[in-house]
Amino acid sequence: MKSKKETKKPLLEIHDLFASTENLTILKGVNITINPGEIHAIMGRNGCGKSTLSKIIAGHPSYEITGGKIKLSGTDIEPLEPEERAQAGIFLGFQYPIEIPGVSNLEFLRVATNARRKFLNKEELDTFEFEDLVKEKLEIVKMEPTFLDRSINQGFSGGEKKRNEILQMALLEPKIAILDETDSGLDIDALRIVASGIKKIANENSGIILITHYQRLLDEIKPDFVHVMANGKIIKTGNSELALELEKNGYEWTDKFIDKT
């Protein structure tokens, strides 16, 4: 007999993940499972491996998986190119979005959106259809349409860059969005805009990983799980209370959880 509440399959499973760059081991056995509709926060000191984890999931060529698995909806993503991962629904919101002179933001957003739509067997959008869609999404991050005419991230303020990331997330409708320090360098107003944007995009079919140092983003977006990372591992997992404890006691308080072996 079928249970009334269908058990959801995990969206992202990271199992005992080891990774290195330039012969330096950075991830030393990370385990996380994210189910549809969940928001996870990963916190930890600089250099603990948070950003590396996000880049590995997105497929950055400078990092190498040396052990363990990453599965998206049950499929191992290691053999996939970064663009294939993105098309399949992985989204990385960059801590430092890259400037690309000469390439129009609008064109970029359209090509990216169509690549994802093609993967989903949806019809690709022509210039006019896309403009309608993007104008709608601009509202989410409170950006002006003039934004679209500029080169990708070129000359954008810190806040504009981050809002552009969230705009991309809104357009690509990823299964899993990893937002790497999206709150860093934002003033309170920009943080609110970004946070409310993320909340609007979040839905019961997708998962979000927030990588952050600060409680203030988590005040806006309440995570279901908080993970503390240190020395390439997740050393403690809890609910949103854990973030508050961290805020109160600092990372030193978590050091006792580090497995010294």
């Binding site: 190119e81 990385l92 960059f94 002179p101 090509v111 690509l172």
Partner: protein, 480 residues
């Protein structure tokens, strides 16, 4: 930095214009001497003054030495091993397109330049040049209604000798340089354009140059005259079959703009570039120069150089008339073992003359790409202004880019501004685009088009799209 293994694998998209048309052609024997020049002239039934022009140029050429100052390395050219005249055999006098060998029409069809009335491009008049001769010129009659003369230079020599005598060699004299002297001695065909006073040419004019024969050089000559307050936009395209030998192409283009006239000259050069090992390809030694004789006249060069094994080309402007304007917008892409040494000269002679130079060099593979430009402000060019921007983009770590700007000013009341930059497509930029689902190669081509945008914006619309496509094709596989 892009990983070594990412860029090692350099292969170009097969050159799609590399086919040879099987057609019987009339060729003269190899080599160059006075008799050959007399023979070419007599084949073309030229008037005496032109034969003299050629012989005089030949004498000068013999006394000159091939220049070696460019940043180019190639095996010495044996000028006695080249055929200087090759023409497809056909009826002596062709009065309509129906009499043109269908094979020739087919060739241009295949190149995307249909010539027959049913199929020809509706907004562009075309002069199609096949090896040494002009095959056909479209829309001649319609243009004539506006007083515009658009024909092969051979026809112009016969029918408009007054204009030819007055202007041929007036911008680029035979003694100008080695390759211009050679061209002046042996040039076979090319296009002639005359725009009368106060006429805006009703459509774009274009020449399409096709080298077909493997052992003959192509030496075309183009002359464009824009009378007072007239204007014209002229497009030039070039392709050649793939041969494993090198073919010499030494063209001369002269532009003349009188008071308030404007000439826009756009080129998409896609001669065969040789294979990945650098075997074969066109040696492209071209002299292009415009003279802004008139007040407020304007000459604008835009070029997209993607082909040829060797490119040696400096489209220039002599800014004589007060407030005349010269422009040079260039994209030069080299891949594999291609070498390009290209740029411009802006010679400011008249007061308040202005020039703009925007050069974008892209080097991929093991190619070498140099910008060489001269900005000269003469003593009478009070209030002259120049702005130059030379950007280089490197793809991979085996390509080279150089910039050689020369600035000479004899007038303190003038402004010369030069900006230069070199960038490499970074791994982080590529990763950023890829992480949004954009394929690696598309990411590269987006960045290259973005880099070239300032120049593409200057090209006529159909050309800009073509240029963009061409660059992506050329780069396909170059980073992957």
């Amino acid at each position: 930095m892009v990983n070594d293994n990412l860029v090692d694998n350099i292969v170009s998209e097969p050159y799609k214009y590399g086919f040879v048309t099987e057609i019987e052609s009339e060729k003269i024997s190899k080599g160059i001497n006075e008799d050959i020049i007399r023979l070419i002239s007599s084949k073309k039934n030229e008037p005496e003054y032109l034969l003299n022009f050629r012989l005089n140029a030949f004498k000068k050429w013999q006394a000159m030495e091939e220049p070696d100052w460019a940043d180019l390395g190639y095996e010495a050219i044996d000028y006695q091993d080249i055929i200087y005249y090759s023409a497809p055999k056909q009826q002596e006098k062709i009065t309509s397109l129906d009499e043109v060998d269908p094979k020739l029409l087919e060739t241009f069809d295949k190149l995307g330049i249909p010539l027959t009335e049913q199929k020809r491009l509706t907004n562009v008049a075309v002069d199609a040049v096949f090896d040494s001769v002009s095959i056909a010129t479209t829309f001649k009659e319609q243009l004539a209604e506006h007083g515009v003369i658009f024909c092969s230079i051979s026809e112009a020599i016969k029918d408009h000798s007054d204009l030819i005598e007055k202007y041929l060699g007036s911008v680029i004299p035979a003694s100008d340089n080695y390759f211009a002297a050679l061209n002046s001695a042996v040039f076979s065909d090319g296009s002639f354009v005359y725009i009368p006073k106060n006429v805006t040419c009703p459509m774009d004019l274009s020449s399409y140059f096709r080298i077909n024969s493997g052992d003959s050089g192509q030496f075309e000559r183009t002359l464009i005259i824009a009378e007072e307050a007239s204007s014209v936009s002229y497009l030039e395209g070039c392709t050649a079959p793939m041969f494993d030998t090198n073919t010499l192409h030494a063209a001369v283009v002269e532009l003349i703009a009188l008071d308030d006239a404007s000439i826009k000259y756009s080129t998409v050069q896609n001669w065969y570039a040789g294979n990945e090992q650098g075997v074969g390809g066109i040696f492209n030694f071209v002299t292009k120069r415009g003279k802004c004789i008139g007040k407020r006249s304007k000459i604008s060069w835009s070029q997209v150089e993607t082909g040829s094994a060797i490119t040696w080309k400096y489209p220039s402007c002599i800014l004589l008339g007060e407030e005349s304007v010269g422009e040079f917008y260039s994209v030069a892409l080299t891949n594999n073992l291609q070498q390009a040494d290209t740029g411009t000269k802006m010679i400011h002679i008249g007061p308040k003359t202005k020039s703009t130079i925007v050069s974008k060099g892209i080097s991929a593979g093991k190619s070498s790409n140099s910008y060489r430009g001269l900005v000269k402000i003469g003593s009478k060019a009070k209030g002259a202004r120049n702005y130059s921007q030379c950007d280089s983009m490197l793809i991979g770590d085996k390509a080279a880019a150089n910039t050689f700007p020369y600035i000479q000013s004899q007038q303190s009341n003038s402004e010369v501004e030069h900006e230069a930059s070199t960038c490499r497509i970074s791994e982080d930029q590529l990763f950023y685009l890829q992480s949004r689902g954009i394929e690696f190669e598309e990411a590269v081509s987006m960045m290259v088009s973005g880099f070239c945008r300032d120049v593409f914006n200057q090209l006529p619309m159909e050309f800009a799209a073509e240029a963009d496509k061409l660059l992506s094709l050329k780069l396909e596989g170059s980073v992957g």
